[in-house]
Amino acid sequence: MFGSFDFGILLANAPFLWNGMLLTLQLTALAVTGGLLLGVVLAVLRLSPIKPLAWVVEAYVNFLRSMPLILVIFWFYTLVPKLIGRPVSGFYSVLIAFVMFEAAYYSEIIRAGISSVRRGQISAAMALGLTKMQSMRYVILPQAVRNMVPVLLTQSIVMLQDTSLVYVVGLRDFLTSADIVASRDNRPTELYMFVAIVFLVICFSASRLANQLRRRYSL
């Protein structure tokens, strides 16, 4: 059944596909960075003693987490330029959508990481004479970060996979580039299989790394 496979088509279109891959990687890198930064802010706000602030953030997180990413992309695609009031390229609209969406997930992981450190530890640290800041800095955060790094990495792998959804707005990422070649040359089998294998290799290696981190650092 693989007799009619035409792998030459992959070679012939390698530069085009590579450009798509670059866009995918770029989008992932920027979205992970932005999502983490915003996620930290959201997590801190959510754990803040100012209740209304915590509630607003909680509402935001729950709201975004109950929406499909595709719908979020469509929303931001039409909304961002209107809100900013000046032209924005499709790439930035989508990037903002990913940052806002992923931040909701990251913030939950970070919050869970901080909350996972047992209360007794804070009491113990404070009893030892550490200030609140010091106990956060030397006791809570080192443990919290160890707990959440593997999960954050896993979420980033999910994020890399999610970037393929920019397909719906025609942004030329890896999958969309492959899709263009697939339909232009009527070679969907080769192209989609290739995309699947590339993602499988990247994500599988990354998730193995996440597992190793988990084993090495878990408390």
Partner: protein, 294 residues
Amino acid sequence: MKRILGTVVAVTVLAALSGAATAQDGLVMKRIAETKTITIGHRDASVPLSYLGPDGKAQGYSIDICLKIADAAKEELKLDKIEVKFVPLTPQTRIPLLTAGTVDIICESSTHTLGRLRQISFLNTTFLTGSKLLVRKTSGIKKIEDMTDKVLVAVLGTTNEKAAQVEIDTKKIKIKGEIVKVKDHSQAMLNLEQERADAYVSDDVVLYGLKSASKNPDEWEVVGPYFSYDPYGMMIPRNNDDFRLLGNKTITRLIQSGEMEAIYKKWFEPGPTKINYPLSDRLKENFQLIALPD
């Protein structure tokens, strides 16, 4: 001093208000002047009006016309150079991208309709076509009435999809399931190639283009009488009278100088994909009608 301050505030507020009221006016020309860049929206597979060439760059009949408009903008605004940027789009993303200002002009195969005019504006009609069906020669389908128990595919958000739905409803044609709605020509073609669908409804010129660009053009056939009227024009944002004038003037000049026919010949007779779609008398007449006197 107070009075001066008051006047300054009043003038600023007034200026801001008037600015807000006419914020849409001439935004495109201003943007082109400031950035020395014109951004053209194009399609991936509207052969041969707006599609990706073998080098992966946008090309086609509509693109050529727009490149002339870019030249005209450069001259009008007395710029030393103008950069042309290309942004790929689909029927679902084109209007949001245009109203957002991401692209200045959309050069592909978009039908000039009253409904769309509520959102955006069009340049004068530069192509005339209508809905037909692309089918396998062996399918025996000759018109949309033959679609009983057959699968029809269309691109979401096109005039053809709507026209086909109206045809099916009014003539009570029992197609198999609902019309399958996909993202763009390429996905529709894939559905057809894989025999998931029996017919693809689109503008006949695009169908001839897809047929000519396919692996085995002889396998395919464009059938049926037209069941919609689709005059194409470049889409531009609303409230850009100066830009629209520039665009229409450029088109008029192209017609008067005979360049328009040359561009047509380059892409259609027979064209890079051997589409062989000669200039019709109707389109010739249309060119005469829109070439307004100075």
